[in-house]
């Protein structure tokens, strides 16, 4: 049973979209706090560059490419949903999920290699930040993919198509966080 409150639009923005933007706003501050702490430390410790050199820039770059491509399919899915084509929107969401799966698999491979070389989360403050920030981001990727599967399940039946846009907003946020993490953790020397 949906309350009347949910159907009102005094601010001129659909309630769901408004709420997702507030979710994104509060998430920005979470990652913002973590990354600001990292950047302040990084500036104070130029020697962290030597540790950062042990990360695999090529695999990180490949993952960036995968996430950006998955954002493209998310946008195409939104386009299909706006046109009222639920099954097509669902297929494109599945493609986005595939991107998430590839991302997490590559991540798992990277971490296994690094841990086998002796760079663990307790090695130093740099590695603590590396695993925590990327791990928190990976949790967001996994959560996003699960929500996306649920949205695709209803979208397939041409129901609740506005949700495709909402998960798309969230997915772009996850993408943009990675755009910050990749240069900060991998490239910066």
């Amino acid at each position: 049973m949906r309350p009347i409150a949910n159907t009102r639009m005094a601010a001129g923005i659909p309630t769901g979209r408004l709420a997702v933007w507030w979710v994104v706003a509060s998430e920005i501050v979470i990652f913002g706090g973590l990354l600001a702490s990292y950047i302040m430390h990084r500036i104070a410790h130029p020697e962290w560059g030597d540790q950062a050199a042990n990360t695999n820039v090529w695999l990180g770059g490949f993952n960036t490419f995968v996430l950006l491509t998955s954002s493209l399919t998310a946008v195409l899915s939104h386009k299909a949903a706006t046109a009222g084509n639920g099954p097509k929107a669902a297929r494109l969401l599945y493609a986005t999920c595939l991107g998430a799966v590839i991302f997490v698999c590559v991540k798992a491979f990277e971490w296994t290699t690094e841990i086998s070389h002796g760079y663990t989360i307790t090695s130093s403050t740099f590695w603590s930040f590396y695993y925590t920030a990327a791990g928190l981001h990976a949790l967001h990727v996994i959560a996003g993919a699960i929500i996306m599967l649920l949205v695709a399940e209803t979208a397939k039946k041409n129901l609740e198509l506005h949700r495709v846009e909402l998960i798309g907003i969230y997915w772009h946020f996850v993408d943009i966080v990675w755009i910050f993490l990749f240069p900060l953790l991998y490239i910066a020397k």
């Binding site: 309350p3 009347i4 159907t7 923005i13 509060s26 501050v29 702490s37 430390h41 928190l136």
Partner: protein, 570 residues
């Protein structure tokens, strides 16, 4: 009253027929905003009793070191650490937050903006359930090996990060989990509040027709959402430092303990305003109603709130003047801290200007509201000494600080809550509270409150440090010769706690009354909640109201009655 049909009432019919609900779906798993408000309210009050009992136990230890405390037993040093830590945590995160933001926000926002519920009722229910879980986790931390967390409510590492320092390794992890869960609960609630107030307003209600208290709860929710993120990240980092051995705050491995202080206070200082603003909003509502006067400078008050919110993000390092931060930084934070007293002072002047020339009625809620301003002012003025970095070097970590923040938090969390609770009690339960008992309870709380904390100002000025188990061991810290003041404070506390029985008795007999004697609008107030039945049914109104004017049109010239409800056309 509600002749005009709001645009969205057309599909109201299929929404508003309700079957009789079972006990569980009505009281426990309800999605109704009023029931969730009551759940938050009574959980918060129960936690306040626990926090108050903790205060009683450690104050007894301080006044009469080593005695067998009646009802508790001997307070050991480890107990003492856990009690002071969890007293602070509970009173801020499990009393002030749930009661002022969550309970009043849930109860008031839909009723005051004229809609039937929150925009996301199920998320609202989830928010309370996570909050309840967090409270259970916190209380359970007292019963694990080692006992509750004893590292101070600010949880500074390395003390909080290592079990061999704080002696409560499991308790400290549970404490962190509880705090993090609580933040998640209020993030969910806050998103609901902001979205509801932005989108679900009644037809005709413009931005500046929204009652002050709704505005202030919304601004407080936004402040919370914008400030809590770094501490959530910090809590994750500290949790991993405790349990995995990461190196964020560990100087041995290149980490920085001061980083935690930045993350904590970047949230911790705005948090003061997160709980202050709802209390100020409640006070503003009550003052307008019982002075029968239009709010003085309504828009200025709201703009001032925005100013306070923005400034509150720039003052956090005034908690860290002695933590080894750069003295040039300390100068900057001194200036911003002194600046933030300007909007708060302005708000107090607006209250006084609202009262000026009004026909003031000294009902119980009005007494609480007036006391809020008077007592909070003492808290504000003593803050000037601590915001100035030079004076703070002397006062830091003394009882002066402790008395100062109790003079801010007590008016906010206790006086503000009693003001709001006694004012909206008729709407919540349909019955009036007993005024005589209300006034006895008021004076029995306010006088002992000052009796507790004025001696602590004196002790702090004399150099008494915080968080010390037995002052007899520290003659240099005003340890022995000022014991009388400690006893005085403890006796005052016991008197104050005893007078709370009057409050619970008053609630009980008022609630037990057979007749619903409140009617719809006992205080003759303008805002929309007073046009609904008392207590409002599920869905609040048979036809949702439409709004024609601002919320504070009292004593309008040329009108027979001295109030002009928002929903009356014309």
């Amino acid at each position: 009253m509600a002749e005009s049909i709001p645009a969205d009432a057309t599909h109201g019919h299929d929404v508003h027929h309700h079957a009789e609900q079972s006990f569980w779906s009505k009281y426990v798993f309800s999605t109704d905003h009023k029931m969730i408000a009551m759940q938050y309210m009574f959980t918060g009050m129960a936690m306040a009793l626990i926090g108050g009992f903790m205060a009683y136990a450690f104050r007894m230890q301080l006044a009469f070191p080593g005695i067998e405390v009646p009802g508790y037993g001997t307070v050991t040093a480890t107990d003492y650490n856990a009690l002071v830590t969890n007293h602070g945590t509970i009173m801020i995160f499990w009393v002030a937050m749930p009661v002022l933001i969550a309970a009043f926000g849930n109860f008031l926002i839909p009723l005051m903006i004229g809609c039937d519920d929150m925009v996301f009722p199920k998320i609202n229910r989830l928010s309370y359930q996570i909050f309840l879980l967090s409270a259970i986790v916190l209380i359970s931390s007292f019963f694990v090996p080692g006992g509750g967390f004893g590292g101070g409510w600010t949880a500074y590492p390395p003390l909080s990060a290592k079990g061999e320092y704080n002696l409560t390794s499991l308790g400290s992890s549970l404490w962190l989990v509880a705090v993090a869960l609580e933040f998640v609960a209020f993030l969910l609630g806050g998103i609901n509040f902001v979205t509801t107030a932005m989108n679900a307003r009644a037809p005709g209600m413009k931005m500046f027709d929204i009652p002050i208290v709704v505005w202030l709860i919304v601004v407080a929710s936004i402040l919370f959402m914008a400030s809590v993120g770094p501490l959530i990240a910090g809590a994750v980092m500290l949790f991993m430092d405790q349990n995995i051995g990461t190196a964020f705050f560990d100087p041995d491995k290149g980490g920085d303990p001061v980083l935690w202080q930045h993350l904590f206070w970047f949230f911790g200082h705005p948090e003061v305003y997160v709980v202050l603003l709802p209390a100020m909003g409640i006070t503003a509502e009550i003052m307008c109603v019982f002075a029968r006067k239009k709010m003085f400078a309504y828009k200025t008050f709201i703009y001032t709130t925005f100013g306070t919110g923005v400034l509150s993000f720039t003052v956090w390092a005034h908690h860290q003047f002695v933590a080894g931060i750069d003295p040039r930084m300390a100068n900057i934070f001194t200036v911003t801290t002194l600046l933030i007293s300007i909007p708060i002072a302005e708000m107090c002047f607006i209250y006084i200007a609202t009262l000026y020339g009004g026909s003031i009625r000294l009902t119980t809620p009005m007494l609480w509201a007036l006391a809020f301003v008077a007592e909070f002012l003492i808290g504000g003025v003593t803050g000037i000494f601590l915001g100035a970095s030079g004076a703070d070097i002397y006062f830091h970590d003394t009882y002066f600080v402790l008395a100062h923040f109790h003079y801010t938090f007590f008016p906010i969390a206790i006086i503000g809550t009693f003001a709001g609770f006694t004012y909206w009690f008729p709407k919540m339960f349909g019955k009036m509270m007993n005024e005589t008992l209300g006034k006895i309870h008021f004076w029995g709380t306010i006088i002992p409150f000052n009796g507790i904390f004025i001696p602590l100002f004196v002790l702090g000025g004399a150099g008494q440090h915080r968080r010390i188990y037995n002052y007899q061991h520290f003659p240099d810290l005003a340890g022995v010769e000022m014991q009388d003041l400690r006893v005085f404070a403890t006796v005052s506390l016991i008197i104050m706690l005893a007078f709370q029985l009057v409050f619970f008795y008053n609630c009980f007999i008022s609630w037990r009354k057979k007749e619903k004697d409140a009617g719809k609008n006992p205080w003759k107030a303008n805002t929309l909640e007073w046009t609904a039945e008392s207590p409002p049914p599920h869905g609040n109104w048979p036809e949702l109201p439409t709004v024609y004017r601002g919320p504070y049109e009292y004593s309008v010239p040329g009108r027979e009655e001295d109030y002009y409800p928002q929903n009356v056309p014309g």
